[in-house]
């Protein structure tokens, strides 16, 4: 039902920030994400959910960043995707443009938000009003 870790990557696939929730996925797995994506693009079989062995990459693209969620279990894909979109919404409400620069500028806030919004891979509070406590 849940995701193991969330990463924010730039367009080249470099990790800008990450948050590990469950500790069951090696953080090096994220390095396989970009090559896999490029490979799928070449084959013309892109999809928002990629699979590499037992690891599933569920991701969305926003401006010039990717938000990628890794999972090793039978995660609830719809839940994770809507959560990622909600993250974008929340981040954008905090600092108007969500892209690579603003992520680096506000990493402290993003860490705190990621902490509040998801616990052990289960989405918690995501309403911007409540979060601004």
């Amino acid at each position: 039902m849940s995701c193991s870790a969330i990463f924010i990557l730039d367009l080249k696939g470099n990790v800008i920030m990450s948050r590990n929730y469950r500790g069951d996925v090696e953080l090096t797995q994220i390095e396989k994400f970009m090559p896999l994506l490029v490979e799928k693009e070449d084959e013309g079989r892109v999809s928002p959910i990629l699979q590499n062995g037992n690891t599933s990459y569920i991701y969305i693209k926003h401006m010039n960043i990717f938000l990628v969620s890794l999972s090793k279990k039978n995660a609830n894909a719809a839940l994770i995707l809507s959560f990622l979109y909600k993250c974008v919404e929340v981040f954008s409400s905090y600092f108007k443009d969500l892209e690579e620069e603003s992520v680096r500028d506000n990493f402290v806030v993003i860490y705190e938000l990621l902490d509040e919004m998801m616990d052990f891979g289960y989405p918690q509070t995501t309403e911007p009003k409540i979060l601004q406590e």
Binding site: P48, I60, A75, A78, S82, Y111, F120
Partner: protein, 821 residues
Amino acid sequence: MTDSKYFTTTKKGEIFELKTELNSDKKEKKREAVKKVIASMTVGKDVSALFPDVVNCMQTDNVELKKLVYLYLMNYAKSQPDLAIMAVNTFVKDCEDPNPLIRALAVRTMGCIRVDKITEYLCEPLRKCMKDEDPYVRKTAAVCVAKLHDINPTLVEDQGFVELLNDLLSDSNPMVVANAVAAITEINESRPMVRINLQTVNKLLTALNECTEWGQVFILDALANYEPKDEREAQNICERISPRLAHANAAVVLSTVKVLMKLINLLPENSDFITQLIKKLAPPMVTLLSAEPEIQYVALRNINLIVQKRPEVLKQEMKVFFVKYNDPIYVKMEKLDIMIRLAQQNNISQVLSELKEYAAEVDVDFVRKAVRAIGRCAIKVEQSSEKCVATLLDLIQTKVNYVVQEAVVVIKDIFRKYPNRYENIISNLCENLDTLDEPEARASMIWIIGEYAERIDNADELLESFVEGFHDENTQVQLQLLTAVVKLFLKRPTDTQQLVQRVLSLATQDSDNPDLRDRGYIYWRLLSADPGAAKEVVLAEKPLISEETDLLEPSLLNQLVCHIGSLASVYHKPPTSFIDATRQPLRAAPVNATNDSKTPATSQTPQHQPQSTVIPSQDNLIADLLSLDLTAPAAPSYQQPQAAIPGLDDLLGGFDMGATTNTAASLGGIGLNAPLPNPGAPPALDIFGGFGNESNNTFGFQQPPTSASNVSNGYVAPKELWLDASKGKGLQIEGTFARRNGTIFMEMVFTNKVMQPLSDFAVQFNTNSFGLTPTGPINVDAILPNQSANVEVSCRTNGEARKTDPLTSLQHKYAWKFLFN
């Protein structure tokens, strides 16, 4: 030498700077320093050397600073477990802080740090937080139980957290209930501990309306696992969750659909209620298609399943699935799939005109799929076949290479469904022979020629041109060519004799492919022995192909429908095929465990890859010391350690204690490789076969040179701690295996760590792959407090053996028994 100092000094410089700043008195400076540390951590620099200094900043009133320090700890605690202990005191104190945010933060962070020593300290604070007055703390504590269960399931069960979690289901705050449900669902996945009963369901349904969207998903997913007793219950639940179908969040909608689909199965078919319900299902699914593209994709994959299971749901909604020009390619392909599934007589003309337009699109894969879709529609809806064929002919006229090829393949299928109906187009097809270069297209064309050889005047010429380049062809084409020529011969024996002989010899003598050769021989012998029989065999009446060729098989479909919204429903594969079962706690209930690990993976699943960078496993009774877990998924049917024999009073504190040890390491001294060099082939049984052999042909010396360990009778691996006193109720056992004169001995040191003398020891091995069992009783006198004794037990390998799964896993269990005097 001298230059390397530049590296160290610069590093020291940066880190040294940070160190001083961290230890400064000014709060501002500290905060800035910690931020810098976190920033360095984020970009991947190693700042673990600053651990003690960061920990010193932990005791602060500033919440922001505390959060940052906790973040740092979460990251580095694993690599510095001893230093992490320093933080424990502050954690425990923070769990009682007047500020609920801090209490929750402390509990949450402690749960994320997977260091055993810290986990031990987590229990008490967690217990208190579960009963905290602030709901925020309670909800955090609920999730924390799930975390703890992941680290140490036994601890959770023994300490009674599951009951506490159950109590939280009755909490007044819906978020607490939701988190508790999520935790319970997760715990139940590995070991069904909590049964959801009707009362719980009612509580959940009440909380459902007040939760956030995420909480609603947790509750709905938990409801999906509930089996209602009768129709009325099922109906009741359906009614209470139907309003969720209107929710904006796609996950809520899909989870609701999942529960409804499951419950519908329990209701009587064709009842009014079901028809009503099914009508209600359509609009929300249509709404899902206006969501973001990724979510559309997940929705479409799920709709694919739903339509296969209950076609009536979306029967009238064809238009919604028409492809929009700006849909991403993955959405387009899925929509096309659904369109075909929904095609029927009343909408087929719409569909066909759409498909024709798609065939003129730019994306090659999409166009091919569209052309193929036209063919599938023709096969599915008989009345449309005429139109489809006409459309296909038009497309062939376009002379676009991949379109023509795809059309040929599809026309072949149409011929298979409607033989003798459309032969007039064959001449059109033959005109385009040159453009066919893909194997499937060529093979299809050849099949057509062979099948209708009697109607094609120049069939022999056409086939001959193919035969010219026989060896350059793909196997599929070669096989088809062989069959086609034989058919031709049987229909027109007079002028095709030479051709058939040529082909047969090409196939049988000049080819490497065994299938081709065999087929060639079969035909040859058939033709030479009895041409009449050959005719009957080769030109026999063929069954017509069925309408839909790529439906999922029913059992898989049923399984996937239970997982709507999850990855399984997107991959269209069962969860067991892509989840690594080694991550499941080893104490899973035997039925579940064996089912999960032994479910045969489908042929397309990736192999279980040995994870050489496995996260170190936790310290529990079944210590997987050899975490180089090169073996297949370990869901062994270990027997649970037997509970203390009831009825014994304190004096006779005898009990059975399960302890496992990894014999591999100690057996390494006896000439075995630890780890086994080839995980795939279990030589284990053979190795131990050598032990039962009493002759002096000591197996060890005959070990092939690949064996890493140097073997001699004298070498014995050092004793390892097998049983810790805290788990052994006062008895500590260190042991190793040794081999002397062909017999295995278990050499141990028993240490008495309690106040009473211990005596009357006995040991029993669980049946294991090697048939290892003690030969005699343990002969040792009573051990006084704080004394140690050396104990030796000889073992034999011809005891009862039972395959443990995995076979090559060198772990087995023992039960120890002793008396307190």
